[in-house]
């Protein structure tokens, strides 16, 4: 019953799960930066954001009226996490556990 999502992917998924209802900034591959409250995330790292705000609103006027969004995981470049809500040491541990031994 081995599954095809890599351990690291599941780790990130695991981390993101703890960040629900926190403010995150998602940088997309099309250079759009969306800041919003993380509502949910799934194993593909698809992300649902609420009360979003786009970084450079002048450049993306079409996003001004958008209040929430669903982001397909594959279009995400970076996610900026709130450092106060990430346990770095635990993250290190999790990485150690996830590493194939």
């Amino acid at each position: 019953m081995r599954h095809n999502f890599c351990p690291l992917g599941s780790l990130i998924f695991s981390v993101f799960k703890t960040l629900t209802d926190q403010q995150v900034t998602v940088e997309l591959k099309n250079d759009l930066s969306i800041t919003g409250v993380l509502k949910s995330v799934d194993q593909f790292l698809n992300i649902r954001l609420d009360s979003i705000k786009v970084l450079d609103e002048a450049r993306h006027p079409h996003m001004m009226a958008v209040k929430n969004c669903f982001i397909r995981g594959s279009v995400v470049r970076y996610v900026q996490l709130p450092s106060e809500h990430v346990d770095t040491q635990l993250l290190e541990d999790a990485t150690r556990r996830g590493a194939p031994t």
Binding site: M1, R2, H3, N4, F5, C6, P7, G9, S10, L11, F13, S14, V15, K17, T18, T20, D21, Q43, F44, L45, D87, Q89, L90, L91, D93, A94, R96, R97, G98, T101
Partner: protein, 933 residues
């Protein structure tokens, strides 16, 4: 052409016959007039072709009986019918008769060879049959060039011309139109009865009732006014007509609008989508309604203005003119109403083209309600006038009425809003069936089931546990569903509030259980990976990119000839080390057991890589033991408990070995244990690791740490911190020092707080002995911290003895106290020359380019020194106090002076300085306020 052979007498004869009622039975035959002039030509529009095999299907041309030839029978009367039509036309417009006749182009063939249909059926010539075989297309007939044979359409007319005929034939009398309207109304009513929903009917009934009630009321009012009655009745009739027309229109409309049964609809029009469409319509309707209400209000205001004008004129005319007063005063109420109706009618007509007729119905009711209220208002006014009510009362009444109207509107608005909201929310209801949902959940869940849910969701699990413990909640339930040995699913962090659907989780659990049990069964059957069929069912998280080896960018030879030793060393270090290590360990072990401790095999200190490798191994062990501690078996299970304990001890043993605490002191400089503390990773590991190590071992560990204290990187690099310049080295040293203070010292703190006095004495002695220069050590932050730790521990012990809280053997106590005092005296003497140098502020030279805040920063880093001195002062004997005061007088005075004289940047700095000084002075039983300058 034949047209000119037209004979007028025939017409007259026909007319005569019609007058005698000869054609009555043919009155309804209009339906079958496809061969006639008034035929609308629609039959030609039919697409007809591919009839080639009709013969095979229906049988070839043979002798055809005539028992079905109804048309043939009726066609006998055809001339009469046409005559009748023309007669009608003549009646309608006798003066136009001639042109009509001309346009009609009466067939001369009919006159010359008056063949009946029968003769055609009888005709056995192939030509007469051909058109029949070919589906009776009249175009085909014409193409065959036999216009004269066919009685039905003897002319090579174009369809256009034919239609022109039809339209001329359509110029009918009013009676005919009325008859048609009647039949249409009947038909529509019939269809309505079949197809309309009960609701619609009810609505209509209500509407009718309202209208009729309205009329009745008005009639009652009219009876009082005999003079006006006739005029009003006229209006009423007009109104009724209009209403009837409305209803008819609406009915016709519904006929168009009714939806076909769902199964017959294309997908895009299935009822679900219809719901959405209706939502749209509803919204449109809302807008329309708003507009309409606005109009309505305007109209009402208009009406009111007129009413007021009437009243004024009435007042002018006086009550005597009651009966007549309506005539001169502009439009009557009824007229206004009629006008309103008309406007509505227009609106409606306009609206009826839009599909929002249903909602419109509601709006209509709204309007009618308003109308009724208005009518009531008008009526009430009449009554008031009769009774001679005052103007103010009328005004009040009107205001009341207006208020009622507005209120009703508001209520209606609210209701509609609510309905719209509900509709909006429920528009996607039941898009998926329960089995659809179950299917998707099953696939999703199957993707989430893992053999070790805890490990795969480690971060979230532990994080939520930490958060929960931080919030003071005990571990309620494991957020992992486990299913025997085969796997489970992690549920992630618990929901914050109460879940919206608590049973959703239950359902998912059931689902997962089913999946897992199914999977297990299948696995047994096949002996294969069970969930292969569902693997990747939702797509793949990782594409080729991670499977394919990353593209190599640097072409570096594994063993370049230029520096073989280096690469070799790195590549084989672990192996050699392992071999060598094992050998030396064995040798050392034998030597130690022989009690030959001084004769140690000296080794090179651990390299950075080795340290990192060992640390990683230690981390793995720590994680393993932490996991084990979490998975403690229940108390009842004796067997498992013992097994678990064994495992734990085994790992702890490995940890202890890994820490290399038992490696002899002289093995290397720095000692391997100290090497492990070099990286911040190692420093951070220690507190997690020491949790699992028992007290005696910790004591050993601490002794080793004290003995090797000068070897620590943080002690060696301490002078770097005596600078306010920001350099990477300084920053790194700062970081490491901080890590040491928070991690390493924290991990030994629990040991120190339980130390016996003689242990402290021994440790202090060891520190003095090993460090050679205790003064230098005391100038480092870690050293100072450690010393403070020891001194305060002694103070605590002394206090405990003093209060008798800790009953102790007097003799041994005094002995250890004596011992302590000796070591302390030595320590104090060694430290005395360095008292001033202990302060970072004395070591750091403040430079011009340093910011103003630097001074405050210095005061803050001075604080531990003051603390240490306070601890020292507490333990010191009076002579030592003297020494302390004399050596620190300048420092104290400097601080107090600068604080009191205002030589400080701000209040914060002043307070910090005074607090620092007081920290020390209080230990001596003094206070900074006692110092007078």
């Amino acid at each position: 052409m034949s047209f000119f052979d037209f004979q007028g007498e025939n017409l007259e004869d026909e007319r005569e016959r019609i007058r005698n009622g000869g054609l009555h039975e043919n009155e309804d035959v209009a339906v079958y007039t496809w061969g006639e002039d008034s035929y609308d030509g629609l039959g030609d529009a039919l697409q007809e072709g591919d009839d080639d095999f009709n013969d095979e299907t229906f049988g070839g041309p043979g002798v055809v009986g005539k028992d079905f030839d109804f048309a043939g029978q009726t066609s006998l009367l055809e001339p009469e019918i046409s005559q009748h039509k023309t007669a009608n036309r003549a009646v309608a417009s006798p003066q136009d008769l001639a042109p009509v006749r001309q346009a009609e182009q009466h067939p001369p063939v009919e006159r010359r060879a008056p063949q009946s249909l029968e003769s055609i059926w009888d005709d056995k010539s192939p030509f007469s049959v051909l058109p029949r075989e070919n589906g009776g297309s009249r175009f085909a007939e014409r193409e065959r060039g036999q216009p004269s044979i066919s009685q039905f359409s003897p002319y090579p007319e174009s369809p256009m011309l034919h239609q022109a005929h039809a339209s001329q034939g359509g110029a009918r009398t009013l009676q005919e139109i009325e008859a048609e309207m009647r039949t249409a109304a009947i038909q529509s009513r019939n269809t309505l009865q079949r197809q309309q929903s009960a609701l619609r009917l009810q609505q209509e009934e209500e509407q009718f009732l309202q209208e009729q009630a309205f009329q009745r009321r008005r009639l009652a009012a009219q009876q009082q006014r005999e003079r006006e009655r006739e005029e009003r009745e006229m209006q009423l009739q007009a109104l009724q007509r209009l209403q009837q027309q409305q209803v008819m229109q609406m009915r016709e409309h519904t006929q168009h609008q009714r939806t076909p049964p769902p199964r017959m609809l294309p997908v895009s029009q299935s009822p679900r989508f219809l719901d959405q469409r209706q939502m749209l319509l509803l919204q449109q309707e809302d807008q329309l309604r708003l507009q309409q209400e606005l109009q309505e209000q305007l109209r009402m205001e208009d009406l009111e203005r007129q009413l007021r004008a009437q009243q004024i004129s009435q007042l002018n005319q006086g009550p005597i003119h009651f009966n007549h007063r309506r005539q001169p005063s502009g439009p009557t109420i009824a007229e206004l109403q009629a006008l309103q109706q008309q406007q509505q009618q227009q609106n409606r007509r306009h609206r009826s083209q839009s599909p929002a007729y249903q909602e419109f119905n509601v709006a209509q009711q709204n309007i009618q309600m308003q109308q009724r209220l208005l009518a009531e208002l008008a009526q009430a006014e009449y009554l008031r006038e009769f009774q001679g009510a005052t103007q103010a009362e009328q005004e009040a009444l009107r205001a009341e009425a207006m208020r009622k109207i507005v209120e009703a509107e508001k209520m209606e608005d609210k209701r509609r809003n609510k309905a719209a909201k509900i509709a909006h929310m429920s528009r996607y209801n039941d898009l998926m069936t329960q089995s659809d949902k179950d299917f998707i959940t099953r696939i999703q869940v199957s993707q989430l089931v893992t053999p070790d849910p805890y490990a795969d969701d480690f971060y979230a699990q532990v994080y939520s546990a930490i958060v929960r413990s931080r919030m003071g909640l005990q571990m309620q339930d494991e957020r992992v569903l486990k299913f025997g040995s085969s796997g489970g699913i992690s549920l992630g962090a618990p929901q914050k509030g109460p879940t919206r659907r608590p049973n959703a989780m239950q359902r998912m659990e059931q689902q997962v259980e089913r999946i897992v049990s199914n999977a297990r069964r299948r696995e047994e059957e096949k002996g294969l990976h069970s969930l292969h069929s569902l693997q990747g069912a939702l797509g793949k998280t990782s594409g080729r990119s991670y499977k394919a080896a990353p593209r190599q960018l640097l072409q570096v030879d594994e063993n370049p000839a230029t520096s073989p030793s280096h690469a070799h060393a790195h590549a084989h270090i672990s192996k050699e080390d392992a071999k060598e290590g094992a050998a030396t360990e064995a040798a050392k072990f034998s030597r130690e057991t022989l009690g030959n401790g001084g004769n140690v095999v000296r080794k090179d200190p651990l390299t950075h890589r080795q340290v990192l490798a060992i640390l990683e191994a230690l981390y793995d062990l720590v994680l393993k033991v932490e996991q084990l501690r979490r998975d403690r078996p229940p108390q009842e299970d004796e067997q498992a408990g013992q097994q678990w304990e064994r495992e734990c001890n085994e790992i702890v043993e490995q940890l202890w070995e890994g820490l290399k605490v038992m490696v002899p002191l002289e093995t290397s400089n720095p000692h391997p244990f100290v090497s492990l503390l070099f990286p911040s990773k190692g420093k951070k590991l220690l507190p997690r690791l020491t949790r699992h190590i028992d007290q005696p071992r910790m004591l050993t560990l601490m002794t080793l740490l004290v003995a090797c204290f000068t070897q620590l990187d943080v002690v060696k690099q301490a002078p770097l911190l005596d600078s306010l310049d920001d350099t990477p080295e300084q920053a790194e040293a700062e970081r490491q020092t901080q890590a040491f203070l928070t991690s390493v010292l924290q991990s030994i703190l629990p040991v120190v707080t339980k130390l016996e006095l003689h242990y402290v004495t021994a440790l202090l002695g060891l520190l003095i002995e090993r460090s050679q220069d205790i003064g230098a050590l005391a100038q480092t932050k870690p050293g100072l911290a450690l010393l403070t730790l020891f001194l305060s521990r002694v103070e605590v012990i002394k206090q405990a003895w003093g209060t008798g809280a800790d009953p102790i053997d007097r003799v041994s106590a005094s002995a250890s106290l004596e011992q302590w005092q000796a070591v302390f005296d030595q320590f104090f003497a060694l430290l005395t020359p360095h008292f001033l140098r202990l302060f970072p502020s004395s070591r750091i030279t403040l430079q011009a380019h340093h910011p103003a805040s630097a001074a405050l920063a210095i005061d803050i880093i001075d604080q531990p020194v003051w603390q240490f001195l306070a601890a020292l002062a507490l333990l010191a004997v009076p002579e030592q106090h003297q020494v302390l005061v004399t050596s620190l007088r300048d420092k104290v005075l400097e601080n107090v002076l600068s604080a009191n004289k205002g030589w400080v940047a701000d209040e914060d700095e002043r307070r910090t300085k005074l607090a620092n000084v007081n920290l020390f002075l209080h230990a001596l039983g003094l206070d900074s306020s006692q110092i007078t300058l």
